[in-house]
């Protein structure tokens, strides 16, 4: 709705005005970050204190390099100075299109200064921490891809959490019963695909509100997994222990320092996630199939007029989305933990959904968001090891707050597919 008192401006001018005030806001935010860095971390830091970052991964055989040792106080002050400088530049001249990148840089510097402050007179394995972030990001990537797949075709899928939970349980039961983890993975995919099909039938055929249907599946998943867990998995613990997919070291690349242990000595699921990411990106944006799928999500009526079967497209997308969520769930048990715990997804499906929104419904954007969220959760565990006086619960809130902030649109605007959430009524 255009307000009446703005009638003298053309729409383009209005957008410009909005952009300008957004830039100004971001400039102020960056300056505030800079000031906070100095206020929070510089006080109480002694001039002679040093922060040690270990760059060798203990569990990998990559080439050894020296530790990174920096003087704590000077680094913190320098970062604070840089941020204030960036913010001032943004306020006076402005970075234009690069504004969001600069904001990202400012936040990154802030986090780095937090690490420097936390490790003063101590040492922190930076490589191990980054590796942990990637590990934490894997289920989020699958969750986000699942959301993208479904929502690009116009079906909101908040059942990802429930799908992951069911897949996690089914995979562990089948894989321990048959002593074959591949069968476990297959069963997990089958289960989550089937439940996703139920979501599809409810929302596409019966035109049930998509969020209500998704919530029903989440509640169902919570109930059924806890039910089976209490009824069987406690009585028969032999059905709740499975082998794990081993880590695969990529030859040559895995011996690179820092990067090797982080990216090239990971679980099969990580490589699979990256592969699927590329495949989905290409399929959605560079193939006729993807164009049609996106069209169904943007303007189903137009797609229907062109002879695309809207219902079929949506069914396929939702089931694919279920399979992706199933991979995420199976990773939790077959890739990471090796057993099923009650409610073990712990909101990862929802964070995956948040990563999808954060990444603007784009696979690569979602990857970045997943890595950020993964980093924040590894930060949480590392800081508690370093005995930093920041309560871990505050850090645990970070992904959720970030999602809310990004949805508000102060920092940037995200656009969902236009027909997202609307059931399609055929014309016949």
């Amino acid at each position: 709705m255009i307000k009446n008192n703005n009638n003298k401006h053309t729409p383009q001018e209005l957008i410009l005005i909005a952009e300008r005030s957004r830039f100004r806001r971001i400039g102020i935010i960056i300056i505030l970050i800079g000031i906070c860095t100095a206020l929070l971390f510089a006080f109480g830091t002694d001039r002679n204190q040093k922060s040690t970052f270990v760059l060798n991964s203990p569990e990998s055989f990559s080439t050894k390099i020296a530790d990174l040792v920096v003087p704590s106080l000077y680094v913190i002050l320098a970062i604070s100075f840089i941020n204030i400088l960036l913010g001032t530049y943004q306020l006076t001249k402005g970075f234009g299109r690069n504004t969001n990148k600069i904001l990202g840089l400012a936040i990154f510097l802030f986090v780095f200064s937090l690490l420097v402050w936390a490790t003063k007179d101590k040492s922190l394995n930076l490589t191990g921490m980054l590796r942990l972030s990637v590990v934490q990001a894997i289920p989020l990537i699958f969750g986000a891809l699942s959301g993208i797949m479904s929502e690009r075709s116009g079906v909101v899928n908040i059942a990802i959490e429930g799908l992951m939970l069911i897949a996690a349980m089914v995979s562990v039961i089948v894989s321990s019963a048959t002593q074959n983890i591949h069968l476990g993975l297959l069963a997990a995919l089958l289960a989550s695909g089937l439940i996703a099909l139920v979501h599809a039938i409810l929302t596409i055929r019966f035109k049930v509100d998509q969020i209500i249907s998704g919530m029903a599946i989440n509640i169902f998943a919570t109930g059924i997994t806890s039910y089976v867990g209490i009824k069987f998995l406690i009585a028969f613990p032999e059905f709740n222990q499975t082998a794990l997919y081993p880590n695969i070291a990529v030859p040559a690349l895995s011996s690179l320092p820092v990067i090797g242990p982080i990216f090239f000595n990971q679980n099969m699921f990580f490589y699979l996630a990256i592969l699927l990411l590329v495949v989905i990106q290409v399929a959605l944006f560079y193939t006729p199939w993807g164009l049609r799928t996106r069209m169904v999500g943007e303007h189903p009526r137009a797609a229907d007029t062109l002879g695309i079967n809207v219902y079929k497209k949506r069914y396929v997308s939702v089931v694919l989305s279920g399979l992706l969520a199933g991979l995420g769930g199976a990773y939790l048990t077959l890739g990471a933990v090796g057993r099923f715990n009650r409610l073990m997804t712990a909101g990862r499906g929802f964070i995956g959904l948040a990563a999808m929104i954060f990444g603007n419904w784009n696979p690569f954007g979602a990857l970045g968001a997943s890595l950020i969220f993964g980093f924040s959760s590894s930060l949480e565990s590392k800081l508690s090891i370093l005995q930093v006086p920041i309560p871990s619960q505050i850090l645990a809130m970070a992904p959720y707050i970030a999602t809310i902030v990004i949805l508000v649109g102060v920092i940037g605007k995200v656009t969902a597919p236009a027909a997202d959430g609307q059931p399609y009524e055929g014309q016949d």
Binding site: E151, V156, I158, L202, F206, K207, V208, D209, Q210, I211, I212, S213, M215, A216, I217, I219, F220, T222, G223, I224, S226, Y227, V228, I230, K231, F232, G347, F350, L353, A354, I357, P391, Q393, I394, A396, M397, Y400, I401, T403, I404, L407, V408, G409, V410, K413, V414, T415, A416, A418, D420, G421, Q422
Partner: protein, 483 residues
């Protein structure tokens, strides 16, 4: 001037048709049938996951004969065939073509599956499967009987207690009922929270978080203020809970109205933030000093909601407050202009905007009421039942409330009844777990099925051949994500 469009004018008021009993039945039959269908599905799950049943099944099938296999397959096919005959459109059209009257056609199609089912059960019983069928029925009976016994008491005990005339004995025998009412109170608040929001077209998944925030605020007021008379302290603590819940709902509300960001994802996120916040406060600032477990201190006696029955019963005044507030909300939604506008916005935001309603204000109002109800649910638990705050203050009341509100057709009076039902389920399920070894989570499964059956009324309508939609309206809450 614009608002007058919505209010019935004095002269032109259309007198609504008087509700007959059949109309009341029509408006509640869908929820009742949906609930029964969900219970039936729950029974199937209970039977299928029972180990004794499984052993029996295995035993029977290890010594099965060829004729038995044939009979079993035939009877299953018979059931499938009869259900198909009853449901399919083809049969319906065929009957109509043949000139069969509508009434006969309907009754034919209703009775075919039932007859098919009875015949096949009969066949199975005759051919040596009677053990399995009896076991299945027995398991179902034991489970649901223990559920009812745990929530409504044992009728023999109650009769004996009344005969003896001993007050103590009577209260003890009625204790299950009182416990069900205790469990129903937060459900009424939670159900109202979801229902008011849904009436306005908002899906508040954040009730769980609002419950935690309400409990947190009222426990802080409950233990930190000392020396107040109960008449002031109790309302103060309740008010604090309601305000905290409303505040927690105000965040997504202002984000929705100011920035247009979707409330579903925001309320989910705020749930997790609330859990973390309460966890943080319980492990630090408001932790009980003398204990290692993260509990808050006990609230002052002056803040405790008074209990109305003698000792073993925990029945407290919170239930009555909840019912009172439900009636108040009913009056507000259906008898005041603001309530009418809220419902109109929920039905059709665009039409309401053209009718001159400030829909943003209505969203805000509905969200605030919804949050306050969630907060009251938390306050009720803390002030009435546990008297301190712990991380397990709510066993998922907020999420249960979603199915509860939908089952109650988002009607405050309906919510009272469904909350009683859910209180019975929640309270009896513990007994069921002890007696029949059926985990409590079965009721969560049943709830999710209830949502599905209510939200997709076609399923129930086809199963039970209901005509029309009754009085339930299709729920629409998804209106895009980011915009």
């Amino acid at each position: 001037m614009k608002k007058n469009l919505l209010l019935p004018s004095e002269k032109g008021t259309v007198v609504p048709k008087k509700m007959k009993i059949i109309d009341y039945w029509k408006s509640v039959r869908l929820p009742i049938l949906a609930f029964l269908a969900a219970l039936l599905a729950g029974a199937v799950l209970i039977v299928l996951t029972d180990l004794k049943f499984y052993a029996l099944f295995k035993k029977t099938f290890s010594q099965i004969s060829t004729t038995q296999v044939i009979i079993a397959i035939t009877s299953i096919a018979l059931i499938a065939l009869s259900v198909w005959l009853g449901v399919s459109k083809w049969v319906k059209n065929l009957l109509e073509k043949k000139g069969v009257t509508k009434r006969l056609s309907v009754s034919l199609r209703v009775f075919t599956p039932i007859i098919g089912f009875i015949i096949s059960i009969f066949l199975l019983r005759l051919s040596g499967f009677s053990d399995i069928i009896d076991a299945a029925l027995n398991i179902t009976y034991i489970s649901y009987h223990s559920l009812l016994e745990g929530s409504l008491g044992n009728i023999v005990d109650i009769m004996a207690a009344f005969h003896s005339g001993n007050i103590q004995q009577i209260t003890e025998s009625l204790n299950p009922i009182s416990e069900s009412l205790v469990a129903a109170a937060p459900y009424i608040f939670g159900g109202l929270s979801v229902a008011v929001a849904l009436r306005c077209g908002i899906f508040n998944i954040g009730t769980e978080g609002q419950i935690f925030m309400g409990a947190l605020a009222s426990v802080i007021v409950g233990y930190s203020i000392k020396g107040l008379p109960p008449l002031i302290h109790i309302p103060l603590a309740m008010l604090a809970g309601a305000l905290a819940g409303a505040f927690w709902a105000f965040i997504p509300a202002i984000l929705k109205t100011k920035f247009g960001s979707n409330e579903v994802i925001n309320t989910i996120m705020l749930n997790y933030i609330a859990f973390s916040l309460v966890d943080f406060l319980l492990t630090g600032p408001i932790r009980r000093p003398d204990q290692s477990i993260p509990f808050s201190p006990y609230i002052e006696i002056s803040a405790e909601l008074p209990r109305l029955l003698p000792y073993p019963s925990r029945f407290h005044i919170g239930f009555l407050i909840a019912v009172g507030i439900a009636i108040l909300i009913y009056w507000f939604l259906f008898r005041t202009p603001a309530g009418l506008e809220i419902r109109l916005v929920g039905q059709n935001p665009n039409a309401s905007r053209y009718a001159g309603i400030n829909i943003k204000n209505k969203y805000l109002l509905a969200f605030l009421i919804s949050g306050a109800m969630g907060g009251l649910a938390g306050a009720n638990e803390v002030l009435g039942v546990s008297h301190y705050l712990s991380g397990t203050i709510s066993p998922g009341y907020g999420f249960d409330s979603i199915s509860l509100a939908i089952l109650g057709n988002n009607h405050p009076i309906g919510v009272i009844f469904t909350a009683l039902l859910f209180g019975i389920l929640r309270n009896g399920s513990t007994h069921m777990q002890n007696i029949a070894r059926v985990p409590v989570e079965i009721i969560t499964v049943v709830q999710s099925l209830v949502i599905v059956f209510i939200a997709a009324p076609t399923i129930i309508q086809t199963l039970f051949r209901l005509k029309g939609k009754g009085k339930s309206e299709q729920l629409i809450v998804t209106r895009g994500w980011g915009k």
